[in-house]
């Protein structure tokens, strides 16, 4: 029987020659991830289950306090303190303190902690980002994380898959964000529920690794279990020099079964914005109308990588953000921050009247560093625009690419590069 790329990775990690959609399997994990929101709950559960429990492998746990850090209040600080002590007691290798920490899904690939062929769970829904590397990665809750930390294993129901066959090449100022928003707009927020989204076709080659991370990052926003790209020269080049363990390349069988196949011509895509309050509520550049804004956020696990900041800087260079608009730029990791510093991007942002923050998830989930008041509107390169996501329950979030966000910052209303 033929298998999809995802099914092959799962079969290998379950020690099986063959798996089929719907089968329940127990798989070995290459990495178990948690952050300052989810890991404290997992640590409490682990201690409750067994006060003397040890993690299964101190090199295969990642603890990344990135959501409410630098600590936003006393409760957040206490959670981070608990996590820090746990990491120390358990001798967890990959604990990242402020000064080294970055947004988890930008940080782990950058540090080579996840590579092609891995089977990864993370107590964060956007763990699916690592599919860009050709890994199986999916979000779970704190209890699964606790069980994963203790046993190094997790049960899965083998998912069926949808295939997205990409052709052509993205036009100027159209990126991975526009592609994934287009797809979510087309299939809906539960359009790929429980399924793998496998991206394939000659169009893949033209997508940068950063574009692929953005696309896989939002697979969960279509309800998917994972998103995944094939491994090509760009993937290998990205992993070389940073991989902390060996990678393994899996390919879908040519006759693998897909429940649906979608054909997408990248050259036909337009800048796309998701209006409140669902990521599927998309409109293309020509359908947006006049939407005045109060804030712009450029950053997050979706679009906080160096190429995202380069696009924003190209648009903001030598210009000033519109009066009355607050622009917050958040490099995803310390490395992204340093690269942006050396390339002069940070100077361009500050000259334009934007603020640059330390790496944090912060405003994306209404934590800190740019929470919205009642009635305010924000164009954000983040991934969710649910009711109250970035602050007051009657505030509004418009999801867009870094290019659209930067143009909007200059115009004071949602504006697309045409």
């Amino acid at each position: 029987m033929s298998m999809t790329m995802t099914q092959k990775i799962l079969a290998c990690h379950a020690g099986l020659d063959q798996v089929t959609a719907g089968q329940l399997i127990m798989a070995d994990l290459d990495m178990v991830l948690g952050n300052d929101i989810t890991a404290p709950v997992a640590v409490c559960e682990m201690k409750k289950a067994d006060p003397n429990a040890k993690v299964f492998d101190k090199d295969k746990i990642c603890l990344v306090p990135d959501h409410f850090t630098p600590n936003k209040d006393i409760k957040a600080a206490s959670n981070c303190k608990m996590l820090r002590e746990f990491a120390k007691n358990q001798e967890v290798t990959n604990y990242f303190e402020v000064g080294k920490v970055g947004i988890e899904h930008v940080l782990l690939p950058e540090q080579g902690l996840v590579v092609a062929g891995d089977c990864v769970i993370g107590a964060d829904s956007h763990t699916c980002t690592y599919g860009a590397l050709g890994a199986f990665a999916t979000g779970v809750g704190s209890t699964d994380m606790a069980a994963g930390m203790m046993s190094g294993k997790c049960w899965f129901k083998v998912p069926p898959a949808y295939k997205f066959n990409l052709t052509g090449k993205l036009p100027k100022y159209v990126g991975g964000k526009d592609l994934i928003l287009h797809i979510i707009g087309m299939i809906g927020v539960d359009g790929a529920l429980y399924r793998s989204m496998e991206f394939t076709g000659e169009g893949v080659m033209s997508l940068s690794m950063d574009d692929r991370f953005t696309v896989c990052n939002m697979a969960i926003e279509a309800g998917a279990k994972n998103g995944i790209f094939p491994v090509d020269e760009k993937t290998i080049e990205y992993m070389e020099g940073r991989a902390k363990h060996d990678w393994q390349v899996f390919e879908a069988d040519e006759d693998a079964e897909y429940e649906k196949v979608f054909e997408i011509n990248l050259s036909e895509l337009k800048p796309t914005v998701a209006f409140p309050h669902l990521p599927s509520n998309t409109r293309t550049a020509d359908e947006i109308g006049d939407v005045k804004i109060d804030q712009v956020v450029i950053g997050s696990c979706t679009n906080g990588r160096i190429s995202d900041l380069r696009i924003a800087a190209k648009i903001l260079r030598g210009k000033k953000v519109a009066d009355g608009v607050r622009v917050i730029i958040i490099p995803g990791t310390q490395q992204v921050y340093m690269d942006a510093l050396r390339e002069g991007l940070l100077e361009i942002f500050v000259e334009a009247g934007a603020v640059v923050s330390a790496p944090t998830c912060g405003p994306c989930l209404g934590g800190h560093m740019g929470v919205l008041a009642s009635g305010e509107r924000c164009v954000s390169t983040t991934n969710r625009n649910f009711v109250g996501r970035m602050g007051a329950k009657d505030s509004e979030v418009y999801l867009a690419s870094p290019a659209v966000a930067a143009f909007s910052a200059l115009e004071g209303k949602i504006s697309c590069p045409m």
Binding site: P40, V41, A49, K75, T143, L365, R384, F386, V387, R389
Partner: protein, 164 residues
Amino acid sequence: MSDVKGRVFKYGDNVDTDVIIPARYLNIIDRAELSIHAMEDIDQDFVKKVQKGDLMVAGQNFGCGSSREHAPIVIKESGVSVVIAKSFARIFYRNAINIGLPIMECPEACDKISAGDEVEVDFTGGIIADKTTGEEFKAAPFPEFIQNIIKAGGLLKSIAEEKK
């Protein structure tokens, strides 16, 4: 023989984890304190009105969004005995089972049951009985290993029981 019995709180499609428990409260670890804010951004009266045993009935893709286990935790902590939806987002589905919050998928029941109805549920048979209207619905029961996790009160408790 019913396992649970209560009044229905009814919601629509795509009830996301940000409205079940807004992220601004995720710095709270204490479950009782956290659950004061359950459903706050979608239904301010929920916490005031909910009584032990009450049910939630909703549309498609219940619990979409974040992986926060705090979402099923606050629903369970506020006394809700079961969530019945047309479908569940996959991480919420896992989390609910893992923490021992009973959930059922039954589109027909979700269309026909109204807010405030008195409903009884028999988990073993998957029977949902609306005592207000007299209608009965059948949901597919969980496989045995998942029923055992829910009965034990969650994944880690069931692992502990297996070890005994």
